[in-house]
Symmetry: C2
Subunit: 234 residues, 2 copies
Amino acid sequence: MVEHVAEHHHSLARELECVSGVPIFQQLAQPQLTSVAEVTRPIHAKKGQTVFRPDEVSQTLYIVNAGQVRLYHLADDGKERVLRVLNPGDFIGEIALFTDEIHSNYAEATQTTELCTISRDALTTLIQRMPPLALSLLSALAVRLKSAEHQATLLAIPDALPRLAGYLMDLSQGKATALTLPMSKQDLAAYLGMTPESLSRKLKQLVMAGAIVTSGRREIRVVDAAKLQALAPQ
Amino acid sequence: MVEHVAEHHHSLARELECVSGVPIFQQLAQPQLTSVAEVTRPIHAKKGQTVFRPDEVSQTLYIVNAGQVRLYHLADDGKERVLRVLNPGDFIGEIALFTDEIHSNYAEATQTTELCTISRDALTTLIQRMPPLALSLLSALAVRLKSAEHQATLLAIPDALPRLAGYLMDLSQGKATALTLPMSKQDLAAYLGMTPESLSRKLKQLVMAGAIVTSGRREIRVVDAAKLQALAPQ
DNA sequence: CGCCTAGTTGACAAGGCTCAACAGGCGTGG
DNA sequence: CCACGCCTGTTGAGCCTTGTCAACTAGGCG
């Protein structure tokens, strides 16, 4: 589980596929996409493999193209704190673009995953040549910033139930839909700043209240958005 | 240094002063600074005044030039949750640049404050004309994102003492220095996800442990960074 | 089919929140 | 300039929530 990820350097086709699937580059024209593809290196990781680990000096932007990457922090009591989960289109390493970021987190593939990597120098050059790219990067960062600050306000709530309800409201976007948890329950518990035991109990409480029903390991269906809303903060 | 330009565009003097003091625009050349100043509108707020309130549709970037702005959220139990405090050079409203942001927070001046405002249209135009501006905006957003995510990891810690110790470590940057709290203790308590009572007790605990000494309302001196570090998480 | 991890449930203890009363600064007005 | 008053911060006591530890169940993967 500590093996190195496989790197590939071949035709541009692969890079193009990687690049064109990513929202950040979506509105670029074909020739510009090719320029981006030229400086992109795809890497692959199988389930459980580590993409990067702490203390590596990084000057690379990682963009998830397919699969899923779990970003977590290892506390010195041995507990893993999940920071977030990267799905296709998400990226990590933006700070590496401006300072020599020393990663303090682990990135681990939770399934077979393909990532695009772009070096700092290549990306800054690209940004200066393609203003639309700068705008879409800014937009992506702004969105992430908003969600990070939102999460911070959620976590500042001392009671576990509204914290969980607020999280589920975000996931379901206020509607009574079925949804799949983006991570395991123990990871979710860490993400929400509680123990797996508490998460289990609070979920049960929501089921009892008639707000949600659970089915299977990661499936949740919101049946009464109003009840959930009433338990959520704000 | 502003004088020279002021002679040519006298009406811009105020805007230039506002713009040139802001880190985001710092490395722009003089003519570019003038372009920025041309689309900037300074606004002023006295202590206690509200800069904006929730449900206002905003297409504006606010940059604090002097003074301090407190950004907070009003829960429906009437309690204020401080999201962060903006000091000179900090900005807010970046999400407004990409979507019609509906502010969910209040912004209130804690002292006599001057802000620069730039409209969405003006800023996107500027970005496309000035690649370095895009880079420095990206850099600023990345830094804020990092600190927001860091705060989220802090808040996910259930025990109040390490949470506080971690916050103080961040403020003091690991050194044994004197520091001034950027906000009142009750605001800090909300920011750290605890009650003012808990904050008071935990601070006392840190003083007892010999890690810090307090003097006055907002002054804290770290006397033993190692002790503080030992109590902080990671 | 069986093992191993993820998830659940229960009992207990500890920590933080709540409520309430008190002290101490700072600004305001006399 | 002083005194008063208000707001900020502190201290105390009790209860409630959540973390901890432990045992148990349920899926998933080999």
